[in-house]
């Protein structure tokens, strides 16, 4: 059986400068895999290449055995891949409800979409209280919740999350991860990109450590958490 997501020898460069140097990793069905690393390690470049926002200079990305290297982002949604972008990327001038509906843009089953919107509201009550509010008026944490809820409305088989904890207060980060755990429990395969290595590894089943564009370590999340090198570099000793 092939992995849900398989990345082989992926290379990303920005005008000659290599940001990602031939990395390999994979995510199996139902797994929550995390890609951790410091600022500038290449986490976001990797995700941008996977989601069709930039074209990789080399390597191959397959999703359920299908080659998706360089497929434009709007075409990935139909295949069942959703990306929750870095910095949340909610539509600030659209209200909460409209933002959620945009997540379901590629779908036409209106009744089912509405049921799922209600499900999201059930899972994230904060959003329900603010349906008619412009997303730009939400707090950072609420925007992140909205971004995740919106991504879920694409009915993704594979959800890719880019730094969901970025810039949020610890209490809010806990809440976001609670939501991520709920989504994972429902069987959605998740690729989580995180700078907060501790939290990410606590929630993930496996992890990859990215450093200067290369994968330096990989293994079970628990093992990585206990690894002295990881501890020293990413978990504050």
């Amino acid at each position: 059986m092939s992995a849900t997501l398989e990345v082989k020898q992926l290379e990303v460069a920005y005008g000659g400068i290599k940001a990602i140097k031939k990395i390999d990793f994979h995510v199996n069905e139902g797994e929550l895999v995390t890609l951790i690393g410091a600022n500038g390690a290449g986490k976001s470049s990797t995700l941008r290449a996977l989601s069709g926002l930039i074209k990789p200079v080399g390597g191959k990305v397959t999703y359920k055995g299908q080659d998706i290297t360089g497929v434009p982002s709007h075409a990935l949604v139909g295949l069942g891949i959703a990306l929750c972008p870095e910095g949340r990327g909610v539509f600030k001038r659209l209200d909460v409800h409209e933002n959620l509906l945009m997540g379901a843009f590629a779908r036409n089953d209106k009744a089912q979409i509405m049921r799922e919107v209600d499900e999201i509201y059930g899972m994230i009550p904060r959003l329900k209280e603010r349906t008619k509010q412009l997303a730009g008026t939400l707090s950072g944490g609420e925007q992140q919740m909205l971004a995740i809820g919106r991504a879920m409305l694409a009915q993704p088989k594979l959800l890719m999350l880019d730094e969901p904890s970025m810039g949020l207060a610890p209490l809010m980060v806990e809440k976001i991860f609670e939501i991520i755990r709920l989504i994972a429990k429902r069987g959605t395969t998740i690729l989580l990109i995180e700078q907060n290595a501790q939290l990410a590894l606590e929630h993930a089943s496996r992890g990859y450590v990215l450093e200067s564009g290369e994968i330096k370590m990989t293994g079970e999340a628990k093992a990585l958490l206990a690894d002295p090198r990881v501890k020293e570099a990413y978990l504050g000793g």
Binding site: S51, G52, L53, P72, S73, H74, A75, L76, V77, G78, A82, L83, P85, G89, F91, K92, R93, L94, E98, L101, M102, G103, F105, A106, L134, G136, T137, L138, S139, G140, Q143, R150, A154, G167
Partner: protein, 301 residues
């Protein structure tokens, strides 16, 4: 100045203003989504008028009742203009989407000149008489005189504007347009094909422009290859005055500009009419560059 004259000029101003507003919507929609001033939009309006003129004449000559002929002509003009608008975007603007903003702006001016020349080739340099299909005989309502033609113009513009606002604010495609205007990258992640949305935007804006062209031609009774220039500049002024990128702003700007021009006519000779638009533009740019209805942008965290 008698109050009757003022009332009359207000009515005239609303009629002309509603046409400005329709054209201004075309500028503002494109600006909202691409941050591009599509200076060729005035020429789209001109093409709409000339196509409608030719089709109306051909159909009435073929014995089709005039009102039906006019309706079919408007439809034809909308289709032609939508195709021209979408083609302009595809051929001239899309390749420059990531270029510095001056490049598409100059291209837009080039496209505008190009379309004028094409119009000369196709239709000629003549001033054509636009047939009077909806009667322009005066109707007196109290102290005010209007024509059936003016009433039709006003009602049509208001319905089109209401339709557009409904489309943009209440439908899925409209929400996708607003989403694309705000962040093309994220809109793409939602599965929105932004090129398609941009094409739709051009098609709608151009279609509205076509109708506006027919209105202007029928109101003044003439159409010519150069008619889009001044009208385009004025509608652009209206869009800037209202706050470019904002649909309500374009509507308000168009109506206000029409009113200022026509009420102003009470005080100066008709030849100076065009001055008002540009005095208004200069004043707005000096005192309220973001326009009357400044973009409502809520940002936090």
């Amino acid at each position: 100045m008698s109050i009757d004259v003022l009332l009359q000029q207000i009515v005239n101003g609303l009629v002309v203003g509603s046409v400005y507003a329709l054209v201004a919507l075309g500028y503002t929609m494109v600006y909202g989504i691409l941050q591009l001033i599509n200076f060729a939009h005035g020429e789209i309006v001109m093409i709409g008028a000339l196509v409608a003129l030719v089709v109306t004449k051909a159909l009435t000559a073929a014995g089709i009742p005039p009102v039906l002929a006019l309706l079919l002509a408007i439809l034809a003009a909308m289709i032609v203009c939508a195709i021209v608008g979408v083609s302009i975007e595809r051929i001239a603007y899309r390749p420059l989407r990531s270029a510095p903003r001056l490049a598409p702006l100059i291209t837009a001016i080039g496209v505008s000149i190009f379309l004028q020349q094409v119009a000369i080739l196709v239709f000629g340099r003549n001033y054509f008489t636009f047939p009077e299909i909806i009667p322009k005989s005066p109707i007196n309502i109290g102290p005010i005189t209007v024509t059936a033609n003016e009433i039709v113009i006003l009602i049509t513009s208001v319905s089109l504007m209401a339709g557009l606002l409904w489309l943009v604010n209440k439908t899925k495609i409209g929400t996708a347009m607003r989403a694309t205007a705000e962040d093309q990258k994220v809109a793409g992640l939602m599965g929105i094909d932004i090129n398609k949305i941009i094409a739709i935007t051009f098609a709608i804006g151009s279609g509205l422009g076509a109708v506006a062209g027919v209105m202007v031609a029928s109101n003044y009774g003439q159409a010519h290859y150069y008619m889009g220039f001044m009208l385009g500049l004025k509608a652009f002024t209206a869009a800037v005055m209202g706050g470019i990128g904002n649909l309500w702003g374009a509507v308000a700007g168009g109506l206000i500009l029409g009113l200022v021009e026509n009420v102003g006519l009470i005080f100066v000779r008709g030849d100076y009419k065009d001055i008002f638009a540009f005095v208004v533009l200069v004043l707005v740019l000096i005192f309220r560059p973001q326009g009357l209805i400044g973009e409502k942008v809520a940002e936090r965290a």
